[in-house]
């Protein structure tokens, strides 16, 4: 027999011998078991128990306002991530410079600092007697219990996700394309809009929705900066704080009701995003 086909036959035989595969099957079973208990089971329980209660939750005016505040704050923070993060992502993807590793680490810091501390930092930076605080106060800009404060806190925490997603998609673009576009007559800005942007807008959308979702789920920093938000003329809890309040103040069943409703709202927005992306052209 030819040595190659011999080896092949041996390999196939090896595939079928159950004995040698037992460790792999075992590892797989353990993994699936933990995944089911840890992720699927709590999610399923929330949906099963909470789903019938969603209409009731969504008829509570204060909860609708809470969602409004959360969505507004998260959307603003996603916009900040796009404006701030896109150029940074480009530079990180394209250039090597001194201290790049330090900048790299700084970009990751926000996801490593405990969120309560982020809240403290925002208050310290923008609403204390130090740094910018007095200047902002002189101009009547208040960060405590306002949409600005809430947005600042969640933007601090969530823009890292956007930068990383966009950066990794810029790295995938052949730099020679930019070189060619330049020699063909495009200015750096035109190169960005005609070569880079068409290739990264999907990642930008994905990054933005990721950081948006991260902002929606924030609670810790909001406890410090904006436990409630002055929204129009009302004092409104952000959705996560609202659910916390309902759990502490009323009880588990009440919290489940609102939790299921918030999860449903997030899922609907995710689905809408997916549909928009696929309308926007081909594969996401």
């Amino acid at each position: 027999m030819h040595p190659y086909s011999q080896a092949k036959a041996k390999g196939i035989k090896g595939m079928h011998s159950l004995k040698s595969n037992i460790p792999i099957i075992l590892i797989l079973l353990i993994s699936v078991f933990i995944f089911s208990i840890l992720i699927i089971y709590p999610l399923a329980l929330l949906i099963v128990l909470g789903f019938p209660l969603i209409p009731k939750a969504l008829s509570v005016m204060s909860f609708i306002q809470a969602i409004e505040v959360t969505v507004t704050m998260s959307t603003l923070s996603a916009l900040i991530a796009i404006i701030m993060g896109t150029p940074i992502a480009y530079v990180m993807a394209r250039y090597n410079f001194h201290l790049k590793s330090i900048v790299d680490a700084v970009i990751d810091i926000p996801i490593m600092i405990p969120h309560i501390i982020v809240g403290i930092m925002v208050v310290l930076a923008f609403a204390s007697y130090y740094g910018l605080g007095p200047i902002l106060k002189a101009h009547g800009i208040n960060f405590i219990n306002t949409l600005w404060g809430a947005t600042t806190a969640v933007a601090f925490l969530s823009s890292t996700y956007y930068i990383r997603v966009v950066e990794s998609s810029i790295v995938m673009i052949n730099p020679e394309m930019e070189a060619v576009a330049r020699t063909l007559g495009a200015s750096p800005l035109r190169v960005f809009t005609s070569v880079i942007l068409p290739r990264i807008w999907r990642s930008m959308a994905t990054g933005a929705i990721l950081s948006w979702a991260r902002s929606v789920s924030e609670a810790g920093a909001l406890f410090i900066v904006a436990y409630y938000v002055l929204f129009g003329k009302n004092l409104v809890y952000p959705a996560s704080v609202y659910i916390y309040e309902s759990y502490v103040g009323i009880g588990l069943v009440n919290a489940v009701e609102f939790s299921a409703a918030l999860v449903a709202v997030i899922l609907v927005i995710f689905v809408i995003y997916r549909v928009l992306i696929s309308i926007g052209g081909g594969h996401a």
Binding site: E176, A179, T183, S187
Partner: protein
């Protein structure tokens, strides 16, 4: 022949590499091939001419205009990188149109120019396709059309043939050779393949460690290189040290070669394997010069014939190409025509 591209003491410092100083000229409407091993700085040279890298020192002139401080978009240079960098989020038509849009060419004229160039390069059937899943040869021609349609003064090609199969390569080669005359452009083509350079070039440039160490017409550089590095790189597989006395070079106590040149002192003797004739050694007495006795050590098949490694005694061996087959251990005679022996003075 007036100059098209002129480099005056150009130095470019990159993080891990320094190019130059380079001073040279590329003639108008000529085909120039820059040859060098990997890492010699060929691609960097192209990018400096294109303006993608800035020159740290020196000046670059294109058509007598100093463009050293000009950005790539105003240098009138087209660049086709290795791998072609076809914009695959556009159609082939949009790819070719790209440069025209920045030149204020009206839509009607754009259409005509694109159709002309596409027809010229045989890709008109591709125009409406998205530029994905094109074959290597198709990508190559799309990239060329995109580069040529803007009528640049200079066309820079980085290893344009390295990603093509042999058949496509031979076809594209003919097309490339015609570019300077047909489009009135100066081509600077970078490669590590000396066959390619020999077939295409009006002038060749040899690069090593960021510098151009030798330049000239192909016949001269390929047959009479002035440096051992160039000789080695250009396929002189036999390079042996010897002592020259007039028109005789001694390779060892017993082996000597007659040469056409007249030199004295330590030299390198360079002979291309294909220039050596191989005959079976029937044991007859040999008279006449430049015939060496040897024993075949190794045989490697090649498309030009059998490449033999023949040991000729005194720890010396020569590589020769033979059209008839030999096997290791065979005794052979090597005939080296004196005009085929190139000598480089140490």
């Amino acid at each position: 022949m007036p100059n098209m591209v002129e480099l005056r003491g150009v130095v470019t410092r990159l993080r891990y590499f320094t190019l130059g100083p380079i001073s040279t000229v590329f003639g108008r409407e000529t085909y120039n091939v820059v040859l060098g091993p990997t890492g010699s700085g060929k691609s960097t040279l192209l990018k400096v001419i294109a303006g993608i890298y800035r020159a740290s020192m020196g000046n670059i002139l294109i058509d007598s205009v100093d463009v050293t401080r000009e950005p790539p978009e105003s240098r009138n240079v087209s660049y086709v990188p290795q791998g072609y960098a076809v914009f695959d989020h556009m159609t082939v038509y949009e790819n070719i149109e790209y440069g025209l849009r920045f030149r204020g060419v009206p839509r009607q004229d754009r259409r005509r120019l694109i159709q002309e160039i596409a027809k010229d390069l045989g890709i008109d059937y591709l125009l409406n396709r998205r530029a994905v899943n094109l074959s290597g040869g198709e990508q190559q021609r799309v990239a060329l059309a995109r580069a040529l349609v803007i009528r640049p003064k200079v066309l820079l090609l980085d290893e344009p043939l390295s990603m093509l199969d042999r058949e496509t390569r031979d076809r594209i080669m003919i097309m490339l050779r015609e570019l300077p005359g047909r489009y009135g452009i100066t081509v600077i083509h970078v490669t590590h393949d000396w066959d390619e350079a020999y077939s295409l070039a009006d002038k060749v440039f040899i690069m090593r460690e960021g510098r151009i160490i030798e330049e000239g017409n192909p016949e001269q550089v390929f047959n009479k290189p002035s440096r051992v590095f160039t000789a080695k790189f250009l396929g002189f597989q036999n390079i042996i040290r010897g002592i020259a006395e007039g028109s005789i070079v001694r390779l060892s106590n017993e082996i000597e070669l007659r040469i056409d040149e007249y030199v004295d002192g330590e030299v390198y003797v360079c002979v291309r394997p294909e220039w050596i004739r191989v005959a079976r050694d029937e044991g007859v007495n040999i008279d006449g010069h430049n015939v060496l006795r040897g024993v075949v050590n190794e045989v490697i098949r090649s498309r030009f014939g059998y490449q033999l490694l023949v040991s000729i005694g005194n720890n010396l061996s020569l590589t020769a190409i033979s059209s008839s087959v030999f096997k290791p251990g065979d005794k052979v005679l090597l005939l080296i025509p004196r005009e085929s022996v190139h000598v480089i003075k140490d």
